[in-house]
Every structure is written in C-alpha cells, then in structure tokens.
Subunit: 151 residues, 2 copies
C-alpha cells in the first residue's frame, strides 16, 4: 500500500501548569482507520457478504446516489460486485481520520488492465461501527494536463 | 456553511504516570483547516488571482488531470473560472484535517440553477502553505437510488 498516511501521536508539549500532550491523532482515530482498512480488505475487496455485519451498524445511511439505502442496499452492492466484477479491487492510497470520520482516497479497478477510477470514500463511525457513507467517483482519464497522476 | 466538521480538542485523559492530553485535533490542524477555508473563499470563490501567492507555496503539485502543474497552472484555472463562470461557487459541506492534509467535501455549482458537482479536494500543506492538491469530481445526478442526497 503506497503513501498511506499513518499520522500518529507525535507532539508532546509541556505546558506551564502541568504535562500537556498534543496528539495529532487520538487512539480512537487510529482505531477507526484500522477498522475501515479491514472493512476495505475483507468486505469490499474480499466481497465477503457475511463479514458486513462485523463492520456496519444497525443502520447505514448511504449517500452514493447509485446505491440503495441501508445495510441491505450495501449487501446487494457487494453481491453485485462478486457476481459481475469478481476481480474488482480498490487500493487505498491515502487514509485520513478526523474525529468520527475516516476518509479513504483509493484507486478502484473493476476489470484488471483497465485504468479504473479515483474514489474518495468518507465514512462516519459510531462506537467502532460504520453508520454513514459518502463517495465521489471519477474515471481515470487516458491523458492528463500534468505528469503527476491522480494519486 | 452547513455541517462543516469542526472537531477541536475534546478529550482529556489522566494517565497513571502523569497528565496526558489526547487531542483529536492539534492546533496546527485547526489552523490548516482555516487556511484552506480562507483560500476557498478568497481565491476559489472570490476568483482573486492576486491572493494566490498568500496561500500557495513556491511549488504546487497538481494531480487534477485537467489542470496544468504548478502555481502558474492554478492561476490560469482561476482566470478561466473568472472569465467563463463568474458566478461559480463551491460550498464546503465537510472539512477534515489529518496531519499536514486538509480534505474538503463540497458542492460546486458553476452556473446558478444547475445541480452542479460533488467534489472532494485534498490539500497538503507545508509551513502553512498549500503545496499539493488532488481532487475527485462527480456530477450530481438528476435521480438517486436513495433519498439522502450526496452531502
């Protein structure tokens, strides 16, 4: 996995009135990142429908306009992937966390050998379960105005 | 501005060996968010080419495949917006920070009255200057499979 951002607690500052630690990332944020990356690997890439309930909450608010709402809607999406694109794979390139949110910037390829799409998924977690999801999807174009790539 | 996530230092935990503060967001992350939101308002929405140098570093690595690299490429993009879409406006809906990165999920409308696009911008900052940018852009569709909207 290239360039996954794994910022952890780095800064310790001693304040006048006692010891004060300024953490760039809380333990909960680190844990949320790992939960989402596991979910990516087991559910999204592994297409394991049975594993869904380990990661999603009892409700799952879906903002992807192409997907039905709720846990059942997501289950149908994974079944669709398993049937229609069994080799589909999403490779996280950046992973960020801020409070209850985890943001994943990934390169998704449904058919091996194609350029695929750049995707940002935003997940909101409650009590270590994913309860809400937004995403933005853009196909990787054949040519670009700069040589830096989309990732 | 709706639903902008402004997570700040919230958690104080006393550890056994002394006072330990676990911050969900460092002062630098809070400052980076504000820099990017100011940049959004003054440069992107205000289309103020002169303000660019206040926010961008001496180099600006561009990953948007439609935009030329560097500060000069970005200046040309703002001039294009000012000339072709003078009423273009991007409304941040979520703003996240993680280390040197700020992520903005926004609703961009170039022509008032149109549905516009959902965009995620990812900015990397060094010394309070924006030095690298990725984005993903998806038009808001006319209909959706759920009633939650894209934001």
């Amino acid at each position: 996995m290239n360039r996954v951002v794994t910022t952890v607690v780095v800064a310790l500052v001693l304040a006048g009135s006692g010891s004060l630690a300024i953490a760039q990332e809380s333990a909960a944020e680190t844990q949320n990142k790992q939960i989402v990356l596991d979910f990516y690997e087991k559910v999204l890439n592994g297409k394991n429908v049975e594993a869904i309930t380990s990661y999603l909450g009892s409700r799952y608010t879906q903002h992807n306009p192409g997907a039905a709402d709720g846990v059942e809607g997501f289950r149908k999406f994974i079944e669709f992937l398993r049937k229609s694109y069994p080799q589909a794979h999403s490779e996280p390139r950046h992973v960020f966390a801020d409070g209850d949110y985890v943001i994943v910037h990934s390169h998704a390829i449904r058919d091996p050998g194609t350029r695929g799409s750049a995707i940002v998924d935003i997940f909101r977690l409650e009590d270590r379960k994913i309860v809400e999801h937004w995403d933005i999807i853009q196909p990787v174009p054949e040519t670009a105005a700069n040589g830096n790539g989309m990732f």
